[in-house]
């Protein structure tokens, strides 16, 4: 279903359509805008995005855009199509008249320089480290964890499909669906034929290969072994990296050494006994996705370390597009620009829910950082319906599992009383940073209110989890992450949600959207949460909650208390 542009201010529309890659859907949005408010800026935003994803799109490089409505990153991309210095000056004037953002002006100036300056591409010619840093004896490049892959070949998107008790996690399905859509778009855009490769590790995972293909994988690689029944850092990392890495002449010299004796890590086609590697002819994957679960996050960090590359964790948005970068760490020289093709843009909620950051994993002039990796927050993408007609290939591997990989020995495991489950209650009371004036008293009030209902649970926002509030001992247990509601916590669907002192960041909204009725209590009449509340009590939770508790317990409202409590202090 296409979003309704009329519900967004222009500044919000850009981020909102950032994940929409389907041209038809974008056309629908554009039509809706034309039929509705018909704003020039909004139409341009959508049109520029259509341009980006339309196959064989007619070259729209006339620079007909308004920089004041665009993010610096979009401007950097758009500027690449503008070859007229006069037009660039017009764009610069527009920016100066409006926001006059320093970084945008610099981008435009650089574009002007590059057109007016010499036509020759600046070749990055960096002196060897020995010359630039004669004071060091340069051991870093020889470290066991640094890879020396030059002009490597990178293809395909690999997806680590985590399982539990012999079944795929939902997030594994969601990632396969997203990977399928991303690679279909990528293959269309670049006229290539790259695949989605699913990785399964564990005990009994052989039974899952068909399902993984039905959900979007072209190739499944797996190792099924009772020794892998429980997630273990070392063997899982070695196996994933071994599957992801080619051997051969190129691979051998570049691979990190795993120990001081210089023994290298595993590589698929160097161990023919372990299985067939003929289906691939590249050094390492282009992209990899992991679930942002506890195990998935650990594995993502270790695999990317072993492959000497980078990753963004806890992403909720992913898209592939070309990008132009002027960061000197990536270009090799201050003032240069470098174009990167088909970069995985990884968006993650950052800074305790205040911002989205877009992270890119890019080669440096002297080091290649592939695969580009991300871990994905469960629930961020829709799981596809399985398509029984889809076909794919499955390859089983049987790498030897050296004892040394099991240095960390699991001696016992016991099920835990399942933490705190906020789902399945009639009522959930949520507390946010509005309790900050007296966190302990605020928490007590939230608990009292929850107690006044027959079946209620107490939840908190991410803001409280990451706060440094000093709770007194008896309520401290309620401030833990296990009670967090939202995108990175639990998603609740109660009949009644009471949001006390919660401003309503989008990441919290995601966790309560499905509640039948939402009652907010907040001193700020314009807090974001008002837009998704059914009742909005504009008042101080320290006064309103006691009144509600009283009313629920006695069955009637104490009008006198309200009248004095809610009015001006006097």
């Amino acid at each position: 279903m296409a979003l309704d542009p009329g519900e967004y201010d222009i500044s919000e529309l850009g981020p909102a359509i950032q994940d929409v890659e389907d041209v038809d859907e974008l056309e629908d949005i554009l039509e809706a805008e034309k039929a509705g408010e018909n704003r020039v800026g909004a139409k341009q935003l959508v049109e520029s995005r259509i341009e980006k994803f339309r196959e064989d799109g007619e070259d729209g490089g006339d620079g007909d855009f308004d920089p004041t409505e665009m993010s610096p990153a979009d401007i950097a991309n758009a500027l690449q199509d503008v070859d007229s210095v006069d037009r660039l000056k017009e764009i610069r004037d527009m920016e100066e008249a409006a926001g006059s953002r320093d970084n945008v002006l610099r981008l435009i100036d650089k574009r002007v320089d590059s057109i007016q300056g010499s036509d020759e591409e600046t070749v990055v010619d960096r002196a060897p480290p020995e010359e630039r840093h004669p004071d060091l004896d340069h051991p870093t490049a020889d470290k066991q964890y640094v890879e020396d892959l030059e002009d490597g070949t990178y293809r395909d998107m690999w997806v680590y499909c985590e399982t539990t008790d012999g079944e795929l996690l939902d997030v594994s399905r969601e990632m396969l669906g997203k990977a399928r859509r991303l690679m279909d778009g990528y293959n269309d855009e670049y006229g290539r034929d790259e695949r989605v490769v699913a990785v399964l590790l564990g005990d009994g995972v052989a039974d899952l290969t068909d399902e993984v293909v039905e959900l979007g994988a072209d190739v499944v690689v797996y190792q099924d072994d009772p020794e892998l029944a429980r997630f273990r850092h070392k063997p899982y990392t070695e196996l994933f990296a071994g599957m992801a890495r080619a051997g051969g002449a190129l691979g051998r010299q570049s691979r990190p050494r795993n120990d001081e004796a210089g023994e290298t890590g595993l590589a698929l086609d160097e161990e023919p006994d372990a299985g067939d590697s003929s289906w691939r002819d590249y050094d390492e994957p282009r992209y990899v996705l992991f679930p942002a679960t506890d195990d998935g996050r650990d594995l993502s960090a270790l695999v990317q370390g072993e492959l000497d590359s980078g990753l963004a964790s806890d992403c909720s948005g992913l898209y592939i597009e070309d990008t132009v970068i002027s960061n000197p760490a990536k270009t090799g020289r201050e003032g240069d620009k470098r174009e990167f093709e088909a970069v995985l843009h990884m968006k993650r909620p950052d800074f305790s829910g205040f911002e989205y950051s877009t992270i890119l994993c890019l080669d440096n002039p002297t080091r290649e950082f592939h695969p580009q990796g991300a871990s994905v927050i469960p629930g961020s993408f829709e799981a596809p319906d399985p398509d029984p007609a889809r076909e794919g290939e499955a390859y089983e591997y049987d790498f030897a599992l050296p004892e040394d990989w099991f240095r960390v020995d699991v001696t016992e495991h016991d099920e835990l009383d399942s933490g705190v489950d906020l789902t399945g209650h009639d009522v959930v009371v949520g507390l946010g940073r509005g309790i900050g004036d007296d966190p302990t008293a605020g928490m007590e009030l939230g608990l009292e209110l929850a107690d006044a209902f027959e079946d209620a649970a107490l939840g908190i926002t991410r803001g409280i989890v990451t706060s440094s509030y000093d709770f007194e001992g008896h309520v401290e247990q309620y401030a833990r992450e296990e009670r967090q509601i939202g995108e990175t916590g639990q998603v609740v669907e109660p009949k009644l949600y009471v949001a006390a002192g919660i401003s309503g960041a989008i990441q919290h909204k995601v966790g309560v959207d499905e509640a039948d009725t939402i009652v907010a209590v907040n001193t700020d009449p314009d807090a974001d949460i008002r837009d998704f509340s059914d009742y909005y009590v504009e008042g101080d939770l320290f006064e309103v909650l006691p009144a509600l508790v009283d009313a629920l317990e006695s069955g009637e409202l104490d009008e006198a208390a309200l009248a004095t409590g809610g009015g001006d202090d006097d």
Binding site: Y8, E355, C361
Partner: protein
């Protein structure tokens, strides 16, 4: 026994401390630096090791020279014997992988190899949780994450840890590993001091450290990239695979519900809310 605890300074995210520019971007420069609150469990684990197993405790951080205060705070909380600050402009703006390479080299550069390195689960600013595991990978040490309880047997040279494992039903896993090992603590880590002598040691150490923390700079070693023989291409921004290409304020959600405004001092309006709620009333 020798332990090293890794810690980091992060912006203070408490209400009122965070400042934004007019585009809604976080202004880091104007936000004060405090010790990463998620490192506290790691510091508690290190303290437990020092009290129960003796030996020396070190704290290591990478950051600007101003991190001295963060380290002093850490010194007080683990009764640390010495502090290490990896500080250099070449190290600035590192992502987790470049940080891991730097910190692992710092650990390898110590006079005596530590038996245990502790790290917290995540930092409050980046929240990736990658630096700890990646540092362990560089060292090629056994790694145990999400640790909630720890016992060290110095004679046998092993550790025994309980760790949280999420799943359909969450589990507690008991693991054993040889030292040296790398421990990432869970926010729920609880130290235990079962014997009276532990509690007494605790008290003595507190006195002793209070004095040391006052002159913490005398106990601090600062290393730059040439001290560590680290090539600038492998550390800091230049050595980082990832960059942040853009930051957007999280967009305001479109209005989906039409809120009825309620003035809490108006009994009639409040009665509407109470009606809505009283269907579910009936607790104790």
């Amino acid at each position: 026994m020798r332990t090293v605890t890794l810690t980091k300074g992060v912006p203070d995210f408490r209400e009122g401390q965070v400042s934004f520019d007019e585009d809604g971007h976080l202004e880091r420069g104007d936000t004060p630096t405090v010790m990463n609150p998620n490192d506290e469990p790691a510091l508690r684990a290190s303290l437990q090791a020092k009290v129960r197993n003796g030996g020396t405790a070190s704290v290591m951080s990478m950051g600007p020279p101003g991190y001295g205060d963060v380290l002093r705070e850490a010194m007080e909380s683990v009764y640390a014997d010495d502090l290490y600050l990896l500080s250099d402009r070449e190290m600035a703006a590192a992502d987790t992988w470049a940080t891991a390479i730097t910190v692992a080299t710092g650990i390898q550069n110590m006079d005596e190899e530590p038996d245990l390195v502790f790290a917290g689960f995540k930092t409050a600013d980046g929240e990736t949780g990658h630096t700890g595991p990646q540092t362990a990978w560089c060292l090629d040490w056994p790694l145990v994450t999400h640790v909630v309880a720890l016992d060290v047997d110095t004679e046998a040279g092993t550790l025994r840890a309980k760790r949280l494992v999420e799943g359909d039903a969450d589990e507690i896993e008991t693991v054993e590993a040889p030292l040296p090992a790398f421990v990432v603590t869970d926010p729920e880590f609880e130290p235990s001091y079962r014997r009276a002598e532990h509690r007494l040691t605790h008290k003595d150490l507190r006195e002793e450290t209070r004095q040391r923390a006052g002159e913490h700079e005398d106990h601090m070693t600062v290393w730059d990239h040439s001290d560590l023989n680290l090539d600038p291409d492998f550390i800091g921004l230049d050595g980082s695979p990832t960059i942040v290409s853009g930051v957007d304020p999280i967009p305001k959600a479109p209005a989906e519900r039409d809120a009825t405004m309620v003035d809490p001092s108006d009994p009639e309006e409040m009665a509407g809310v109470v009606d809505e709620m009283s269907r579910f009333a009936g607790g104790d």
